[in-house]
Symmetry: none
Subunit: 229 residues, 2 copies
DNA sequence: TAATAAATCGCCCGAATGGGGTATTATAGA
DNA sequence: TCTATAATACCCCATTCGGGCGATTTATTA
């Protein structure tokens, strides 16, 4: 897809606020001839600044991005720099394993997700893989990813309708989501299901959290895409 | 989650119809002391049969499963054996990179997905990772996975190929409807399409009239149902 | 028993939405 | 030429939504 000349060094940048870790990583990556470290930054702002000041041929191909950073987060930084530098690949490099951050990272355009305890050799091969169109992902993280796509083990609930429940929505939530898909308002749903409008609202808020959306339209699209109804 | 005693060998089974490949794989895995190859099978049926006949302590922890098999496919075999042996981890081991098979594999409960050109060392570490709750996935495959979770990257120019016009929506309206489906707000859409928010609103009102709906959720549902996008 | 999850109900507030208008321009058809 | 339809932009206003808060009750399960 993008212009990646083989034989050229991979230009790498590190964004990491932890001094010792950053320096150590820099040192380790220095041993690899196939890499060229163009800069290291200790914050998202710094990273964006460096990018702006970079000559065209010094713009990194790949950025190893820490998530927890002072100032803007690595996720926010990724979001911003992706707007301008769409073809830089971002690998989130972090200690966090929670779904929220993983999901957000993907949303903003990260293409890899490695835990910081990944062996340096693997980090390096990840840098290469990402340039070849792959998405290196720590296995424990990959499992979460799979969880987001897979329909959790069916348990063909004896009663009637739906068995496949992506996002592990509770029965009550599914009932309400169906009404949302039908375009009903909270009040209408409340009447339909004999609940208070506030309860309906709470359920919907929880549904949004689980589905990682924040509007009815987005929820409907996702629900239909994944066959929740 | 499951009972996996550390220190014990990982019991592995291979299901692969290609003779040479299977034997070679068996041979290579044989060099690793931490593995115990409990059986190899050349079809899904054979695999299920072996499982049934296995002593409790000879049931594999992990199965390397080819997808294309004579008789039932690796996906079908996975589906079947997962019902009875839920805690066997299945790693799909295949040459296929297409989304369909990947998706189906995940649906039926595979926890890993490796391409056959994966280095033997990585196959072995994948076997371990899967026992530790990870999901080893070839990076090129992982990218597809990510694609399934991530928001569709907007192709600002939603041009061309829309020939079928389910309702008589004008091109401008369709462009905007697509954004609505992506869950964007009027303001966001306005910025995206370089129009004033009021214009966007007007369009949306007209869209509602034409589609006979009165909310974004309903419009999204209808649009998706009718393949307007 | 303690911790967790599900389901229920509630308040506040600012932003977004939907419905009712009006209006200008341009373009294509009758 | 007259008309109809896009496409564009704007106003008002009541309703709805979404995000933060918190709270109680009942199961389930560790």
């Amino acid at each position: 897809m993008e212009g990646k000349e083989l034989g050229e060094k991979i230009r790498v940048a590190i964004v990491e606020d932890h001094d010792i870790f950053r320096k150590r990583l820099k040192e380790l990556l220095g041993f690899y001839n196939e890499l060229e470290l163009v800069f290291t930054a200790d914050s998202g702002e710094m990273c964006l600044k460096y990018l702006n000041e970079s000559e065209q041929d010094k713009i990194p191909n790949v950025i190893l991005m820490d998530i927890e950073l002072p100032g803007i987060s690595g996720i926010e930084a990724t979001f911003q720099l992706k707007e301008k530098y769409a073809d830089i690949d971002i690998i989130m490099f972090t200690v966090f394993e929670d779904d929220e951050r993983l999901f957000e990272s993907i949303q903003v355009g990260a293409t890899g997700y490695l835990l910081k305890d990944t062996a340096i050799d693997e980090v390096v091969s990840s840098l290469k893989e990402v340039r070849e169109g792959g998405s290196p992902i720590t296995p424990s993280i990959a499992r979460k990813l799979i969880g987001m796509v897979s329909k959790p083990v069916d348990e063909s609930t004896s009663n009637s309708d739906n068995d496949l429940v992506p996002f592990d929505l509770s029965p009550a939530e599914i009932r309400i989501l169906e009404q949302v898909i039908d375009g009903k308002t909270n009040k209408e749903i409340a009447e339909e299901v004999f609940l208070s409008p506030w309860t309906v609202k709470t359920h919907i808020k929880n549904i949004y959290k689980k589905m990682h959306v924040n509007s009815r339209a987005a929820a409907v699209r996702l629900a239909l895409k994944r066959d929740i109804v």
